[in-house]
Symmetry: C2
DNA sequence: CGGGGGTTTGAGTCCGTTCAAAATACGTGG
DNA sequence: CCACGTATTTTGAACGGACTCAAACCCCCG
């Protein structure tokens, strides 16, 4: 557990939030320019190397984090050392909202799964902005509600779908964000995760992930080489993970 | 999927929200008396027999539901028919908030696991109250954040704890609400659920629940007869489900 | 080039599932 | 209030998907 003041953990790389390319994706879009300026002044930015922890489960939560680039992951651990990757956090998305609004310490850690750049928004500013903008609270409410919906889907999927189907779904879920069209029309995706992290995300083990990959390859649904995936039969993958789509 | 206007589904049993014994538990406590009166006038109350569905997954969500008595359960189903009980809803607690604030149809159904009495609060009133009381939004935000935390705990628990430990935790979780002290100092709990529903809640099968029960009995941690449970070794149960406590 | 972490493969085991049947609880009507 | 029929729960036996342990493999980086 780190005892550092979060403000101290961040350098001074100051990019105005008004210019942030991620802005339209986040809840900040409900703010007017003046408030965005406030936000831009209050926030601090910092980069993390792959594997570095952005905040620790158990630390007090005194603000929220916004990913500017790279992929982060939120991991929850119990006292026996069991852990899962609850979800990934992509550029433009927010981490730490749950704990901030629940008024608890962080119930999970966040770490950089690849090199990551993150903005930290102090809780005080957040409170000030929300007092001035009721719509901001509603935006957060909507956001967290969506997250809760996702969590419920995960609970259902983990107990009712085999690992191979969860793997199929995972690959497709990265398609939009990490996919690239090949010359021959097929789609390539670069997995932003270690096999071990994929295992943690799918609630299984690295060996089982490897076997799921072997199985998908054998059936010709996709071709894998390292982190690079070529999607050969998107429809089959889709159908296999059907239960997770709705 | 029901197409009934929710207002029509409810009778006119009108108990003032000001008197509702559940009030202090819910987010409504941030309202002043005038607003509570508005709430009391707008809401409608209805009773459901065991097994009846209160709202259906897929139905439009145009308000939220508050359980007045009895135990309800929220169940999510996928297109293949797999289902889980996501959580129980006890008197004083709310259902349907997630969908309402996300602005989606219900993503899960709610049903009466025993005879249940429920208040329905139309969305329009909710919006009006929230516009007048920013603290209400914050209360909801906190509530949903807690729910999200619970969902995350469930994800971790389901993948890292054996059924028997999840069962132990489940029994203890009912202790405060359904527990009764026996003459000899031990604690009795009446399970408000079918074995089948317990299985759905613990993400397993009825047969496995029966075996977990047999196993806990054999080791003398608890004694079961039907839905009645006598907790013999609370500490052992506690320790067994440790990972879920934090 | 030689580590060394990450990944794959193999073999054996286990927990939970499935299918089936027996036992028990329960509601309902006589 | 009891008897019957049905639903729920328990038990049994066999199976299976995922896990564990362990070794081989393969990159990727220094």
């Amino acid at each position: 557990m780190s005892t550092l003041d979060p403000k101290l953990k961040f350098g001074m790389l100051s990019l105005s939030c008004l210019d942030c390319p991620m802005m339209p994706l986040s809840e900040w879009h409900v703010l007017d320019d003046a408030d965005r300026e406030t936000l831009a002044e209050a926030k601090s930015t910092r980069s993390f190397a792959k594997g570095e922890v952005i905040f620790f489960q158990g630390d007090p939560c005194d603000g929220i984090y916004c990913v500017k680039s790279g992929t982060a992951g939120v991991r929850k651990t119990d006292e026996k050392g069991n852990a899962v990757l609850l979800y990934l956090v992509h550029p433009g998305e927010t981490m730490g909202m749950r704990s901030f609004f629940a008024g608890t310490e962080f119930q999970a850690s966040a770490e950089a799964l690849e090199p990551v750049s993150v903005c930290f928004i102090p809780g005080g500013v957040l409170k000030k902005l929300s007092a001035r903008n009721p719509q901001l609270d509603l935006a957060f409410l909507k956001h967290i509600s969506r997250e809760l919906g996702d969590a419920h889907k995960t609970i259902l999927a983990n107990t009712s779908l085999p690992v191979r189907a969860r793997m199929a779904h995972f690959i497709l879920s990265l398609k939009d964000r990490y996919g690239e069209e090949n010359k021959d029309g097929t789609l390539s995706v670069r997995l932003p995760l270690t096999r071990h992290d994929i295992a943690d995300l799918l609630a299984t083990r690295p060996e089982t992930v490897a076997r799921a990959i072997a199985s998908l390859t054998k059936d010709g649904l996709a071709r894998f080489s390292g982190r690079q995936v070529v999607i050969l039969k998107p429809d089959s993958l889709q159908e296999e993970s059907e239960a997770l789509t709705e």
